[in-house]
């Protein structure tokens, strides 16, 4: 407990929550009678299952409430269903989910096109903000990419001419 002689008066609230008993601290749990009782609490009412909900195999049921934002669908949905056959401890769960996310991204673009909407990808990427606040770097990045692509194209052309 050194340094307490120092002057901390310029720091508003210094030490107001100091507590020698705060070690060990949260999240040491507040033990209560429920501790050994297992999964026995009075559950909240169950939200009706109006959409497909995948649940972790590490629990017996769907939780009393759940989100309904984007139920599994399409090819990505099929991959997600397979992923949920494995536990949260397994790469067999998480890696297929990551794959499904990437597939889902393509499905998103196709879905846009099918609805007659061409996604404004530059807008979605927020390049307007880059243009406003970071113009030189943005321009440099675009120029570097254009240069790389044109060099590659020129190289491939020259190879084709050679053969």
């Amino acid at each position: 407990m050194k340094d307490t002689a120092k002057d901390y008066s310029h720091i508003k609230g210094w030490g107001v929550d100091a507590d020698p008993k705060n070690d060990p601290t949260y999240p040491m749990k507040h033990r209560n009678d429920g501790e050994q009782a297992g999964y026995s609490w009075e559950r909240p009412p169950q939200q009706p299952t109006t959409v497909e909900v995948l649940h972790s195999i590490e629990r017996p049921n769907v939780t009393a409430v759940f989100g309904t934002s984007t139920p599994p669908s399409g090819l990505s949905g099929m991959i997600r269903r397979i992923a949920f056959k494995d536990s949260e401890s397994s790469y067999g769960h998480w890696l297929p989910l990551m794959l499904a996310d990437r597939v889902n991204m393509v499905e998103g673009v196709l879905d846009d096109l099918m609805h007659g909407h061409v996604p404004n990808i530059v807008g979605e990427l927020g390049w307007k903000a880059e243009w406003k606040h970071n113009r030189t770097k943005l321009v440099r990045r675009v120029l570097v990419r254009v240069a790389l692509v044109s060099t590659a194209v020129a190289y491939l052309r020259s190879r084709r001419d050679d053969s």
């Binding site: 307490t4 609230g13 949260y26 909900v53 989910l97 889902n104 991204m105 903000a129 880059e130």
Partner: protein, 384 residues
């Protein structure tokens, strides 16, 4: 209604979506008045979090006015202006009973490791979030808290996550009077953690980041020492040197999965996604803390394996404490701190951006453009 929609890594936009509905007797529907973008949203935005589905609406830090109530809700009434903690918690399960509100067992079917979080992928329950005009709020009697009279809504919205998370980061450090505390990360959470370290009686507070404008801000706001790790040869050696070669008493990781500063961690954790993120700041925290010291982690990582020097945790006898912030547990004390002026959260807000410009808002926060610290999205009805 207007709502943010995730389209894939780095791509988000505003869409028209159906209004949310009451799906459970303890639900409320809230008309959003403020909705922040958080460092946690960047993990989703970058495509790092498994089971982040296209079309989902993000947003777990919001305030709003109660518009509809399920039949079992008792504590709220229509018209109440509430702040909504980011954790979805039932209040009944054994974990909620132990005040582990971030670890509720009745709000996230998809994963058991974390409770439900608004707008945070299906790995946190699949809920649409508050970056929208309206949002469904489950367990409305447990989390939502009426904004006290006279409190600025900008302060209230930061009580949904940033303030409790920063405070809990300091609290979990078990800080004792005179302790040297190092905070990695000068984002909103790290800034608040540094500020709160003093409340627990820290003797010295040091913040490490590599974004100069944020370091300048925290130096004045906390107030504290602040260093750019790009100008330090080795941040661990720097901290040892400045602490009598012993290390800090407490180190706080307020960076999480998006950490910069180590090429291998960046490659494995951010580019190839073969780890639950880049654990550079956590690595530094473990190696900079004193033997027998405490590492407090609030930085968020993905669910898969992540490389950390666990051998040093054993050999140094370090205690690690970590969790999602238990917002409801901390609210009474933190509301007091805001009301009596001890804490000034709204000073962190640098940008109020119309909800319709959500793509640009994400880019500004993510790329740290325009000296951004904390951006708040404003739905049309809140701008009138």
């Amino acid at each position: 209604m207007l709502a943010m929609s995730y389209r894939g890594p780095l791509r988000v936009r505003i869409d028209h979506k159906p209004m949310p509905e009451i799906l459970h007797p303890q639900d409320a529907i809230v008309r959003v008045t403020r909705s922040c973008i958080c460092g946690s949203d960047l993990h989703l935005y970058n495509g790092d979090v498994p089971d982040t589905r296209v079309g989902m609406t993000f947003g777990h830090e919001f305030t709003g006015v109660v518009e509809q109530l399920g039949e079992e809700v008792q504590k709220l009434k229509i018209g109440d202006h509430v702040l909504v903690p980011f954790n979805i918690a039932c209040g009944k399960c054994v974990f909620c009973q132990q005040e582990l509100y971030g670890n509720c067992h009745e709000s996230n079917p998809e994963a058991t490791a974390v409770g439900g979080i608004f707008g945070y992928s299906h790995t946190a329950g699949g809920y649409n979030g508050g970056q929208a005009e309206y949002v469904r709020v489950p367990y409305a009697d447990v989390g939502p808290t009426v904004i006290p009279d006279g409190m600025d809504v900008d302060d209230a919205v930061l009580l949904t996550d940033v303030v409790p998370t920063g405070y809990q980061a300091a609290e979990m450090g078990g800080i004792q009077r005179g302790d040297t505390v190092v905070v990695f990360g000068a984002g909103p959470v790290g800034i608040m953690a540094a500020r709160c370290a003093w409340l627990f009686g820290a003797g010295r507070v040091i913040v490490i980041d590599h974004v100069d404008y944020r370091l300048d801000f925290v130096k004045k706001y906390a107030p504290c020492e602040a260093y750019n790790f790009r100008s330090l040869e080795d941040p661990v050696v720097f901290i040892k040197r400045t602490t009598d070669s012993l290390g800090a008493d407490v180190c706080i990781d307020a960076v999480g999965a998006e950490a910069a500063g180590n090429a291998m961690q960046t490659l494995l954790g951010r580019k190839l996604l073969l780890q639950g993120g880049s654990a550079t700041a956590l690595h530094w925290a473990i190696n900079s803390v004193k033997k027998g010291g405490i590492v407090s982690i609030v930085g968020v990582y993905g669910p898969i394996n992540t490389l950390v020097p666990i051998g040093n945790v054993v050999n140094k006898g370090i205690t690690i404490r970590a969790n999602q912030a238990s917002v409801k547990r901390l609210l009474p004390r933190l509301i007091e701190h805001v009301q009596n002026g001890t804490l000034d959260p709204k000073a962190l807000i640098t940008h109020h951006i119309p909800l319709e410009e959500v793509s640009d808002a994400y880019r500004i926060f993510s790329a740290k453009l325009d000296q951004c610290i904390k951006p708040v999205l404003m739905p049309p009805s809140a701008r009138m």
